[in-house]
C-alpha cells in the first residue's frame, strides 16, 4: 500500500500559483513546496507541471533544480519526474557510478511493462538504449548477466512447469558449484517467468538442503555472485529486499542518501506501507524514527511527508 497522503480534489492551477509564490523573494519557501508536492499523486504532479508551464512559460522542474539544493533537491527532482523517466535517470546515474543494485532492482522488481516503459524513457532522455549503456560499462560475466536482465520481457503468467523447475534447479546447483561457466545461470535467471523462477528456487531448497542464495554466499564473494543474489532476492520477495536496503542504509555511519531517497521516492506510491511494517517488525523501531534520526532539515521533512506524516 502507498504511504503518501494526497487529496482526491485538487487544483493544479492553485498549486502552480502557490509554488510560484514559494519561489519568490530570497531563497524559497521549502515548507510550501513540501506540503504541496509531498501530498500529490503522480498524475497530479504531472498536471501541476503542465499548469505551471502554461501559466509561467517555465519548466517547473528546471525552476526547482535552481531553487533547491543538496539531498533535498535531488529527492524533489526524482519525485516530480514521471515514474518511468525517474527510473531512467536513476539507471543512468547508477551506470555512471557503477551501482549495479539499481539496475537489478529495475529489471527484477518491475513488471515487464514497467521495465519496458523505463527503457523507452531512457531512449527519449539519453538517445541510446539502456542495454547499450549497461553493456558499454561492464565486462565479462557481469555484463552478460546485467544486459540479459535489462533486455528481458518475461512471460507474465502464473503457469509453472514442475518438471522444468526440477531440472533447472539441478542445472543451477551444478552451475554454482562449477565456478567457470555461468551461461546456464544467466539463461535461466534472465529468461524464465517470475512464477517459474520462484518454483525453481523452492525446488532448489527442497532438493539441495539450502536456499540458492545461501549457496551463492558460501563461495567467493565476487561482483557477479553478489548481483546474482540481489536479483534472486528481488524476484523472490521484493518487500524484504527493500527493507534490507533501508536497514543497511540507515545503519551505515554516513547514511547513503541516494539509496534512501531512491527507495522512499520509488515506493511511496506503491508498497512503502508494507515495507514500513516489515521494517518495524524487524528492527523494533518505526522507519520514520530511524529516518528522522539520520537526516535533517528540509530533506528530512520531505522524506517524512512521503512516509505518510500528515501535518
Amino acid at each position: 500500500m502507498a504511504t503518501i497522503v494526497a487529496p482526491l480534489n485538487f487544483s493544479p492551477v492553485e498549486d502552480a500559483e502557490a509554488l510560484r509564490k514559494a519561489f519568490e523573494g530570497w531563497g524559497s519557501d521549502e515548507k510550501t513546496i513540501i506540503s504541496i508536492l509531498g501530498h500529490r499523486y503522480s498524475y497530479q504532479r504531472q498536471q501541476i507541471r503542465k499548469a505551471y508551464e502554461e501559466l509561467y512559460q517555465e519548466d517547473l522542474v528546471k525552476r526547482l533544480e535552481s531553487e533547491l539544493s543538496g539531498d533535498f533537491e535531488k529527492a524533489v527532482y526524482r519525485w516530480i519526474l514521471e515514474p518511468a523517466d525517474r527510473d531512467a535517470v536513476l539507471a543512468h546515474v547508477a551506470i555512471k557510478s557503477d551501482n549495479k543494485d539499481v539496475i537489478v532492482e529495475i529489471s527484477c522488481i518491475y513488471s515487464p511493462e514497467e521495465l519496458l516503459a523505463v527503457r523507452r524513457a531512457y531512449h527519449n532522455r539519453y538517445k541510446r538504449s539502456l542495454e547499450e549503456d549497461v553493456a558499454a560499462h561492464t565486462t565479462g560475466d557481469l555484463r552478460r548477466l546485467l544486459v540479459a536482465l535489462v533486455s528481458t520481457f518475461r512471460y507474465g503468467g502464473d503457469e509453472i512447469n514442475a518438471r522444468l523447475a526440477n531440472s533447472e534447479a539441478d542445472v543451477l546447483h551444478d552451475d554454482i558449484k562449477d565456478k567457470k561457466n555461468h551461461e546456464e545461470v544467466i539463461r535461466i535467471l534472465s529468461t524464465r517467468s517470475k512464477s517459474q523462477l520462484i518454483a525453481t528456487f523452492n525446488r532448489y531448497r527442497d532438493d539441495h538442503g539450502s536456499s540458492i542464495t545461501k549457496h551463492l554466499l558460501g563461495e567467493s564473494s565476487d561482483d557477479f555472485r553478489k548481483v546474482l543474489r540481489t536479483a534472486i532476492h528481488c524476484i523472490v520477495d521484493l518487500e524484504k529486499y527493500y527493507e534490507k536496503v533501508l536497514r543497511n542504509v540507515i545503519k551505515k555511519v554516513g547514511t547513503d542518501e541516494d539509496a534512501l531517497t531512491r527507495v522512499i521516492v520509488t515506493r511511496a506510491e506503491k508498497d512503502l506501507k508494507d515495507i514500513k511494517e516489515l521494517y518495524l517488525k524487524r528492527n523494533s523501531v518505526p522507519l520514520e524514527l530511524a529516518v528522522a534520526k539520520d537526516t535533517h532539515g528540509d530533506y528530512k521533512d520531505f522524506l517524512l511527508t512521503l512516509l505518510g506524516k500528515n501535518e
Binding site: L116, R119, R120, H123, K127, R128, S129, L130, E131, E132, A135, A136, T139, G140, R143, R144, V147, A148, S151, T152, F153, R154, Y155, G156, G157, E159, E183, R187, S190, T191, R192, S193
Partner: protein
C-alpha cells in the same frame, strides 16, 4: 489445343511455386480418359509404372504437390495475420525446424534485425499469448550451440531508433570488429562478447556508421569479411536489409529448390510488402537486371503468383 502442347502446359502447371489452377481446370477437366492416360505414361517423374499394369502417382510427388496447392492458402493466411502474430509464429517455427537444420535460425536473425523496435516488441508480446513463454526463454533453451548468445541478445534488443550517434564511438567499434575478425581463428567470433554487444545493443543508425567506417579501415564490407553465417546475416539485416532481401528472393525464386527454401518468397513478400518492398524491388533490379515481377512470373503459378504480384505492387 493439341495434346503435346497440353501435356507441356500441364507439366508446367505443376512445376515451380504454387499451381496453375486455371490450366488444371481447363486441361485436366476436359480430357478424355485416354488423354489423361497418355499424360500419366508420359511423365515418369509424376507417375510410376506399377507391376500390376497401372500408372500410380509417385507418393513423394503427391506430398510435394500438396505443398504447392497450399502455397496460396499459406500466403493468404500469413498476410491476413497481425504482424505480431506472424513474426511470433515464424520464430516458433524456426526454433522447431532449427534443431535439425541450422539455416532455419536465419529466420530468427531476419526478424530480430529487420523489424523496428516496436514491431519486435509486439512479436514478443504475441509470443507470450500464443506460447506461454517468452521468445528469449525459448531461444535460450532450444538452441545449444555457438549461436545461442547472439540469438538471445538479438531477440531481446529494444534499440534506440533515433538518428543521434557518436561518430568516434562508431569508428572505435569498427576497429574492435576488425580486430575480432582478424582473431577469428583463435577466438570464436560469434561468441565474442564485444561483437555481440555492439551488434545487439547499438542503434541501427549507429551500426550503419560502423559499417561505413569498417569499409574505410579494411577495404571490404563487414559482412564480406565474416564467415560465420548467423553473424553475416545479422550484419546484412541490420546494415543493408534491402540487399539482403533482394538476394534472398533471387536465391529462392527458382524452380528447383527444396521445400524449406521455397517458403522464403512468401515470408519475405508478405512481411515486407507494406514496409520497404519498393526499395527491395529497386535493389533487386540493380543487382540482377530484370524486374522482380518478371522473376515471379517465371517461377510462380496461378493464384499464388497473382497474389505475390499484387502484394509487391502495393505502394508503387
Amino acid at each position: 489445343m493439341a495434346l503435346p502442347q497440353e501435356l507441356e502446359a500441364l507439366t508446367q502447371a505443376f512445376s515451380g511455386h504454387g499451381v496453375d489452377e486455371k490450366s488444371l481446370i481447363s486441361i485436366l477437366g476436359k480430357w478424355h480418359p485416354e488423354e489423361t492416360k497418355t499424360f500419366r505414361k508420359g511423365t515418369p517423374h509424376f507417375f510410376i509404372d506399377d507391376e500390376r499394369q497401372f500408372e500410380r502417382w509417385n507418393d513423394e510427388r503427391v506430398r510435394l504437390l500438396k505443398h504447392e496447392f497450399m502455397r496460396f492458402k499459406n500466403a493468404v493466411v500469413l498476410w491476413a495475420m497481425h504482424p505480431w502474430e506472424r513474426d511470433a509464429r515464424l520464430i516458433k517455427e524456426a526454433l522447431k525446424k532449427g534443431a535439425k537444420r541450422h539455416e532455419a535460425y536465419g529466420v530468427i536473425v531476419e526478424i530480430a534485425c529487420t523489424r523496428s523496435s516496436e514491431e519486435l516488441l509486439g512479436a514478443r508480446r504475441a509470443y507470450h499469448s500464443l506460447f506461454d513463454h517468452s521468445i528469449e526463454e525459448d531461444v535460450a533453451s532450444y538452441i545449444h550451440g555457438n549461436d545461442r548468445k547472439l540469438l538471445v541478445a538479438l531477440v531481446s534488443a529494444y534499440r534506440y531508433e533515433g538518428s543521434k550517434l557518436k561518430d568516434d564511438t562508431a569508428k572505435s567499434e569498427a576497429k574492435t570488429l576488425a580486430g575480432a575478425i582478424k582473431n577469428a581463428d583463435k577466438k570464436l567470433i560469434v561468441e565474442d562478447d564485444e561483437v555481440i554487444r555492439i551488434l545487439s545493443t547499438r542503434s541501427k543508425h549507429h551500426l550503419k556508421s560502423v559499417y561505413k567506417h569498417y569499409k574505410e579501415i579494411s577495404g571490404k564490407h563487414l559482412d564480406e569479411d565474416i564467415t560465420d553465417l548467423r553473424l553475416k546475416e545479422t550484419v546484412q539485416c541490420l546494415c543493408t536489409p534491402h540487399t539482403y532481401f533482394a538476394k534472398l528472393l533471387d536465391a529462392t525464386l527458382k524452380i528447383e529448390v527444396d521445400k524449406n527454401t521455397k517458403k522464403a518468397p512468401t515470408r519475405v513478400i508478405v512481411t515486407r510488402a507494406d514496409v520497404d518492398m519498393k526499395e527491395i524491388k529497386n535493389e533487386y533490379h540493380k543487382l540482377f537486371g530484370g524486374s522482380l515481377s518478371n522473376k515471379i512470373e517465371e517461377v510462380a503459378n496461378g493464384n499464388y503468383k497473382d497474389f505475390l504480384l499484387t502484394l509487391i505492387a502495393r505502394g508503387g
